[in-house]
Amino acid sequence: METIQDKQRPSHLNSVSGGRRKPLHGVASFFRHPATPFLLPAVIFLFTLTIYPFVYSVISSFLNFSLTNPRPPTFAGLGNYLSLFADNLFSVAVLNTGLITVASVVIEFLIGFCMAHLFIAIADLKGSQLLRTIYILPMMVTPVVVGLLWSYILEPLFGVMNYLLSIVGVAPQPWFSDANTALWSVIFVNVWEWSPFMMLICTAALVSIPRDLYEAARIDGARWFQTVMKVELPLVRSTVLVGIIFRVIDNFRMFDIIFATTRGGPGRATEVISLFAYRQIFQYFNAGYGAAAAVVVFLIAMIFGTVAAKLLPREIHHA
């Protein structure tokens, strides 16, 4: 696989760095390679820190392993995985996580795209830069605070949101405290926090579109809608895709907002995978069962990440 960097870099620099043209092989050359002292500390540190938990998780997921039981764990085979897939709560958690992810990312993109256009339109006015910085503040807010903040504002009895709604004649909403509205409230809060991120990504993508393409579209008599569909969306696609992938991965491990607002409730209305695994381990002390859930989450994230990385054009990947 050729990277952009290999293309840009004159080939003789590579030969300088390695001491010879061919890449080095073998243990001795590994230690002689000039890159080794720079990379080794980070690699060793990360390797010990990630490989051990990973192996440990995989092993415990095959054990009957309870943190409260003093006896050594026994082998469970695929038992944990089988009960996991039979566990209704787990499938609810997976479904909720999927729904939150898809709905949030779609709405975030729509809002982000529109806001990016708005900020680009006023970019040459004084103060627009400052305005944009203020606009992105929500994404800088600590996620757990995002949850607490909205559970305060959306409090059904005295919360300011219901008060404001009552002024314009809308009936008070139960928000987080009702099974029918809780999930959408979580999505709303998530969208509030992360739309600015999509705005930044869309802005970066939109400003890189060459001006003459717009000019050409205008001369061809394209309406704004056609310009968006035929010129902008195809051209921002790859950049926006990178942003979407990171948002999907983040949503998949969403924990803080849910923990601060609903803790999965009411009932199981907002149960998500991370919370499910957390509770199995630290409330019910089912380490083996929780580990199986964690391994499943990890596999989903890994498969998604690998597929996404393959789909991305090279230059974006290295940009």
Partner: protein, 272 residues
């Protein structure tokens, strides 16, 4: 020409209104943190406190100052640790070519895919075994582990944009790699290092899940304290608002100064 200008003005006003709407929740919490408990529950709500009081902050600090200090210590030390590991590693990845380099890059990136909860039990059990539960050290080690992949990714994409001819010239002049690293690459990639520092420290400052189960008393960080205001029966909203303000204010103020780096970091590697 006039018409275009007017249209732009109107758009600016629209953007200003939407922006205000977007940050109104933050202002609401900051204002509420200065209200009394009684006033918080007032119906209809008062928009500005009747009397501006800092009592909530006094009470908050009285009980929780050590935990705020924990947050600061853990954030600073883990960010330092990330930089010590990741800057040389980024140099290694961006400057040299070697076999399996692409795999190594992907391996670094895969650190970002791991959901923290997947690492929860092994971290917990290991730290318990070696007596690092509820210590700063235990948290710092894990934060370094989570921050390093991100920082390597960001800094190495920055370093790649440095013209290789400069390194080459230095090399021909007899400079060794450590000299090139310290004298040429490091100063030229200060923007990337700044970006990584910002993202890594914000991550450490915000993290909830890891300290939630790895600390209980001594090394508890501030985000964990914030969740503890939600009691079983009632919620200390006035303390929560004060705590939330303390937690986010430093980051929001920082944002105004480092906006440039945040935007470049996001568009570089599309990190969160």
């Amino acid at each position: 020409m006039r018409k275009i200008k007017l249209r732009k003005r109107l758009l600016f006003i629209l953007a200003a209104l939407l922006t205000l709407l977007n940050v109104a929740p933050l202002l609401w919490v900051a204002v509420s943190s200065l209200k009394t408990r009684v006033e918080i529950f007032a119906n209809p709500p008062t928009f500005l406190p009747e009397v501006w009081r800092v009592d909530n902050y006094a009470r908050l600090f009285h009980d929780n100052l050590p935990f705020l200090l924990n947050s600061i210590v853990v954030t600073l030390l883990s960010t330092l640790g990330v930089l010590i590991l990741s800057v040389p590693a980024a140099f290694g990845l961006s400057t040299f070519s070697f076999a399996k380099k692409r795999d190594l890059e992907m391996w670094f990136l895969s650190g970002r895919m791991m959901p923290p909860v997947a690492a929860a039990i092994p971290f917990y059990l290991t730290l318990r075994q070696i007596g690092l539960i509820d210590t700063h050290f235990g948290l710092i080690i894990l934060y370094i582990g989570i921050g390093t992949p991100l920082a390597v990714w960001l800094i190495s994409s920055f370093m790649r944009s440095i013209h290789p001819a400069i390194c080459e010239a230095a090399r021909i002049d007899g400079c060794n790699w450590w000299n090139i690293f310290f004298r040429i690459t490091l100063p030229l990639s200060s923007g990337g290092i700044a970006t990584a520092t910002i993202f890594v420290s914000i991550f450490a400052w915000n993290e909830l899940l890891l300290p939630l189960f790895l600390t209980n008393r001594l090394a508890k960080t501030f985000p964990v304290v914030l969740t503890s205001f939600q009691g079983q029966t009632e919620i200390a909203w006035e303390l929560m608002c004060a705590g939330a303000t303390i937690q986010v204010l430093p980051v929001l103020i920082l944002t105004f100064f480092v906006q440039k780096y945040i935007v470049s970091g996001l568009t570089l590697g599309s990190v969160r």
